[in-house]
Amino acid sequence: MKLLSFRGGVHPPHRKKATEKLAVIKANEPKVVYIPLQQHIGAPCEALVKVGDEVKVGQKIGEASAFVSAPIHSSVSGKVKKIAKMKTPTGEATCIVIESDGLNTVHESVLPKGDISELSGKEILEIVKEAGIVGLGGAAFPTHVKFSPPPDTNIDTIILNGAECEPYLTADHRLMLEDPESIVYGLKAMMKIVNVKKAYIGIEDNKKDAIEKMLECVKNEEGISIVALKTKYPQGAEKQLIYACTQREVPSGGLPMAVGVIVNNVGTAAAIATAIKTGMPLVERIATITGSGIKEPKNLLIKVGTLFNEIIEQCGGYNGTPGKVIMGGPMMGLAQHTDDVPAIKGTSGILVLSPEEARLPEPEQCIKCGKCVEICPAFLQPVYISAYGLKDMYDKAEEYRALDCIECGSCSFICPSKRPLLHSIRVAKREIIAKKKKSK
């Protein structure tokens, strides 16, 4: 099989050995869950319950207040103890604190929705929306929004992202090995929503077993191809993945739908399958708990709202003093101030680095080696955007197309002078966007 790819990119160490062979196990039942009303960009949810209410598993406890939003559901059965602002992995949000009764009584609304052959595309979209399904790759963008393109857009392809190009993480890999049927079922549901006949599942070549498994699973399916991708970061970045699978380039500033494609994570597809087959909304997910700072790395099925420190405790606790706790992978993950935050729908992993690994390198002078230009998957010149940004010359930074940066971090990774390239580009982007808003 010919390996497909994109131009640019880097080769960070994989570091997946610790967990790639470990089957997903169910995490211990949390005694208390802290479910944030906002778990992604877009509008926060409005609470549907009040302190003292009894709730059940799968019960809707937060209603989406805007289009770009997704409802949230209780991951346990028990009593609402508190509704208050708390720290979350992405900042701060109002959380619904539920004390579990340990019974996991399922809510009456959780009922099988029938088979996709009997459901219409519209009905499936409604199920996806009501089940609070968001992108499970990390950004947690509400899935139903992706599937509601403007009427004049012509969508002809769906791509499932099974690249898992982030080092350390193995959650998607394990899902593809352990439950490929759900992924394919979810994909077929997606294809039905937008009525397309063609789909790809892109998987990096360092997961040969997953490629085989998925190939086996789709051999009788029409229109679904498994695409072996070159193992290279950021192979799973949306625009780069679309290019690898279809050779189509998403226009600058545009969305995948501009080239007729919708991209979703394999985990999202499996979550849709669960929502249709059992009626259970998105209340748990697979996450990889790993890194040298974790005693026993694991792939765990965790309930949304479980505290990081509780999850880490189940993995043998910290291996020495933790240096950095990251939600997600090492390339795009979010460093946490504390481990006292709840897992959310976008928690694809918890990575703990030792103080030695976490130590920030001392930046040196730029030697203009051009490596960042050579590897930038968006074909930008990070060296100049960063330099102009650091001099507060944001107009110049914009001229050098700062807004086209996908924030993959390849430039900072490769820089021999250890310069904070992406960091300075992020600042420049924020300044440029703020200025645009002002002038409007």
Binding site: E249, G253, T321, P355, Q365, A378, F379, D404, G409, P416
Partner: protein, 312 residues
């Protein structure tokens, strides 16, 4: 534990690369040619190399100390500059000549403009040009390889007609470097091996050297009367290998984009061939690269790459 956690913007993983690793790789790549230079030109070469390298490192340390900056001589970049300068000087030169060159390269060309990454010209080449203008006799007193230090002409001077009456060295001598010339430029084969090492290590891409050398080959074939052997001597003799692989690829003074590097390399090759064939001077590599160094900001300005998804 909260306040002990390190919080920073992603990525949280960095490649195992550093300036000193890159510069050390350049020194390693230059080592075979250095040893060949010492083998061919004996103590003369040792004296020039030591003088250039020591002066470069001491100058860098002194300037950084005086200007109260962090002393970065352990990044090996001054060693590279010193070594490259020594490669561009004949073994017969007095010891103070390379020292003056190194001081000029590090102080005037590198540090005055802001240190590593900020030199708009290749420091070693700029120093060579300065030395050549100031001490033309000492800078062109070529000797034959061996212990006797008999004076000779370079193959390029012979093939170009500037040194009439001397026999052209054999092709084999030309490739291994058993000919007259600057200390480090004579052994084409060892310079190429070092270049392959640099490509393998990811320090340089083959883009600039290959295009530069190919341009010289094509131009000298076309302008030299379609003479294959003339072309071969133009490619393997003189400073072309040294210049194309190690000097034109200097990060700070060459473009960073693919298109820019292609224009830069073609420009270097074009100028080299023109100077060699029509100029009154058998060598053209140094001045070609220096001229293209100066043109680099302009090239960069007009070769901004097409951004992913940008409609033409």
């Amino acid at each position: 534990m909260e306040n002990k956690l390190i919080v920073s913007s992603s990525p949280h993983l960095r490649a195992n690369e550093s300036i000193s690793k890159i510069m050390r790789d350049v020194v390693i790549a230059l080592l075979p040619a250095t040893l060949a230079g010492v083998y061919y030109f004996r103590m003369g070469a040792v004296k020039v190399i030591l003088s250039a390298v020591i002066a470069a490192v001491l100058t860098e340390a002194a300037i950084q100390k005086i200007s109260k900056k962090r002393v970065t001589i352990n990044d090996w970049s001054a060693v590279v500059t010193g070594l490259l300068l020594a490669f561009n000087i004949p073994a017969s030169a007095p010891w103070w000549l390379p020292a003056i060159g190194s001081i000029f390269a590090i102080f005037i060309v590198k540090q005055v403009f802001g240190g590593i990454g900020h030199n708009f010209m290749n420091p070693a080449l700029a120093a060579r040009a300065m030395l050549l203008a100031s001490w033309p006799v000492q800078m062109t007193a070529w000797v034959k390889p061996g212990t006797d230090a008999v004076s000779t002409a370079t193959p390029l001077a012979i093939v170009g007609g500037e040194a009439s009456g001397q026999a052209l060295p054999s092709f084999m001598d030309l490739i291994v470097g058993n000919v007259g010339g600057c200390i480090g430029e004579t052994s084409a084969i060892l310079l190429i091996i070092g270049g392959i090492y640099l490509v393998y290590r990811g320090v340089i891409t083959p883009r600039i050297p290959v295009i530069y050398i190919a341009t010289v080959a094509v131009m000298s074939f076309l302008l030299g009367g379609f003479d294959i052997s003339y072309m071969v001597y133009q490619v393997f003799a003189g400073g072309l290998m040294l210049g194309a692989i190690y000097m034109a690829t200097d990060y700070a003074s060459s473009p960073v984009t693919e298109k820019g590097q292609i224009i830069f390399a073609v420009g270097c090759g074009f100028l080299t061939a023109i100077i060699r064939i029509y100029g009154g001077y058998p060598e053209g590599v140094s001045y070609s690269i220096l001229l293209m160094n100066v043109a680099t900001p302009l090239i960069e300005k007009y070769t901004r790459p097409r951004v992913f998804g940008e409609v033409k």
